[in-house]
């Protein structure tokens, strides 16, 4: 692109603006091919990660689940035997029910609490930024630390909860929060909710703040009450965010085994056993890799639906 200094500025500018298009036209396919090679070159690390660390392991999980492979020993192909065995297993059936209950209740509570938090933080108030920072802090704390900290709060003899209840004479008996079959699941869910609520409030608050104030003013002039404004202005505007947040969170909540692993190890009597943790203990505790893979894949069909819908949404969002 040689531009001699003598050319008038107008022409020079015109050449610059149109240059990429005009320069490309004569060797269209050659440039395109070059561009494609450059693109593949730049994407090589990312593609290697997707293929070898996600796609291949996933495919091999399916294959593993069709074998009776143990850790350190070759496996034999057993077709669907692992899955059929699971369906006859009492612990498995209890786990299925627990997983549904755990996920549904945790998501519902996180949603309600997260929305409350977002609405409260959206009100006008001095030093709101400071309160927001404080309320979102659990999100930044590693889940392991959250779980260990709560296990200590729930401790029978010395934990904060019993300590508090006894000091203020609210109970005279020691409550075994994590080893009482009726209480354990509730406690696990409470911890999951504590840790996961800020994610909901963050996304909801971002959505709330994007709603133009004029909409509320208009609704007010039309005589809409605060409750009506919430249901007819706020909720419709947040619907997309609600859906995306709940779907993302369902994937993460349903497959997170850290809380159960640290708080209860699935006990007492499998009352808090959920799929990811059962897969973990089967594969690594009992060293049955094939069966463990089968357990982890049982909940996958449900996740597929979420993943497909979410992928479509996120790609559409990126195009806008």
């Amino acid at each position: 692109m040689a531009l001699s200094a003598g050319q008038p500025d107008a022409l020079r500018e015109e050449l610059l603006v149109r240059a990429p298009a005009t320069a490309r036209r004569p060797r269209h396919s050659a440039t395109l091919r070059q561009e494609a090679w450059l693109a593949y070159g730049l994407l090589t690390p990312t593609l290697l990660v997707i293929v070898f660390l996600v796609a291949y392991p996933f495919a091999s999980a399916i294959y593993l689940s069709l074998q009776d492979k143990m850790v350190g020993a070759p496996g034999r192909f057993v077709a669907l035997d692992n899955y059929l065995d699971l369906l006859r297993d009492e612990v498995f059936l209890r786990t299925a029910w627990n997983s549904v209950l755990y996920t549904a209740v945790a998501i519902a509570l996180k949603f309600v609490l997260g929305l409350t938090m977002a609405l409260v933080l959206d009100q006008e108030r001095r030093v709101n930024n400071f309160f927001r920072t404080l309320l979102f802090v659990p999100w930044a704390v590693p889940v392991v630390i959250v779980a260990l900290n709560w296990r200590w709060i729930f401790d029978d003899l010395s934990g904060l909860l019993n300590n508090f209840l006894i000091t203020f004479h609210l109970t005279s008996d020691i409550i075994s929060w994590l080893s009482d079959p009726r209480l354990a699941m509730g406690c696990v869910i409470a911890v999951v909710v504590w840790s996961g609520t800020p994610f909901y409030s963050m996304t909801f608050l971002a959505g709330l703040q994007a709603i133009p104030k004029e909409l509320y003013e208009a609704a007010e002039i039309d005589g809409a009450s605060v409750v009506q404004q919430f249901f007819f202005v706020t909720v419709p505007r947040l619907r997309t965010i609600f859906l995306t947040t709940v779907m993302l969170s369902t994937i993460w909540t349903a497959t997170n085994l850290q809380f159960v692993l640290i708080l209860t190890r699935g006990g007492p009597a499998s009352r808090t056993e959920i799929f990811p943790h059962l897969a973990y203990t089967t594969a690594l505790g009992a060293r049955r890799l094939g069966m463990g893979a089968a357990v982890s894949l049982v909940f996958f069909p449900l996740l597929v639906v979420l993943i497909v819908v979410l992928t479509r949404r996120m790609l559409r969002q990126a195009d806008e």
């Binding site: 561009e35 930044a140 260990l148 709560w150």
Partner: protein
Amino acid sequence: MPRTRSGSRRLLKWIGNVLLVLLLVWTLVPFYWMIVTSLKPDREIYGFEATLYPHQPTLAGYARVFTTTPFLKYVRNSAIIAGANTLASLLFGCLGAYALARLRFPGRALIARGLVVSYLVPPALLFIPLFAVLSVLRLIDTHQGLILTYFSFSVPFSTWLLMGYFHSVPLELEEAALVDGCGRLGTLFRIILPMSLPALAVVAFFAFTQSWNEFLYANVFVNSVEVRTITTGLTLFIVEDVFFWGPMMGAAFLSALPPLVVYLIFQRWVVKGLTLGAVKG
């Protein structure tokens, strides 16, 4: 009519304030218990004599963390792994995102789709086969093994987030640079990256905190003290039901600090990253 309206407004304000206080208590009490426990002498921690606040605050618990446990070794390992992963995510993310945002090639849409799916596939599904893969590659119990497997969540996410951001950088500047003889990579490093600092900060934040906080892979793929990271190291403080909660809470508090500090620094940008559809919760 106007009076009732302003009345209901005031009522709403008060309900909001009460809820705010309750939410703050719910959120902050666990932190209170963690920090207070770490500052108590043992006799105030255990049994019915346990106190709700430290009567004789002491740093002895912290001293025990540093003198009797491999805490510093765990921290070092976490720092190495999270640091390496952050750098690699930034580099791979920038290169891949530039290709997806600016270049024309067959398979672009497919690769974009692959990124999102990879990001959404949960680790609970991958840890069993990855364990088999790492065993074959003899990467069990190595830093490299963990760094490599952490790529599976950090690289797709970084690439995706940066791709979205690069799309929003105006084309005109770049075209001018291209015409001036700045190559493709030249425009990436001289024009786009300097304009994308907030996005790079967000990517670095997520890559670092996710690697620092990761537990499942670290727990399954590593056994030796020499490689163990802080998250799995902490669980070893529970030795066959003999707890020493004072030092444990001290160590827990210290290891939560790095992600907390970066959160406080980056929080303005983090929410933006979240709305791009990010991060576990």
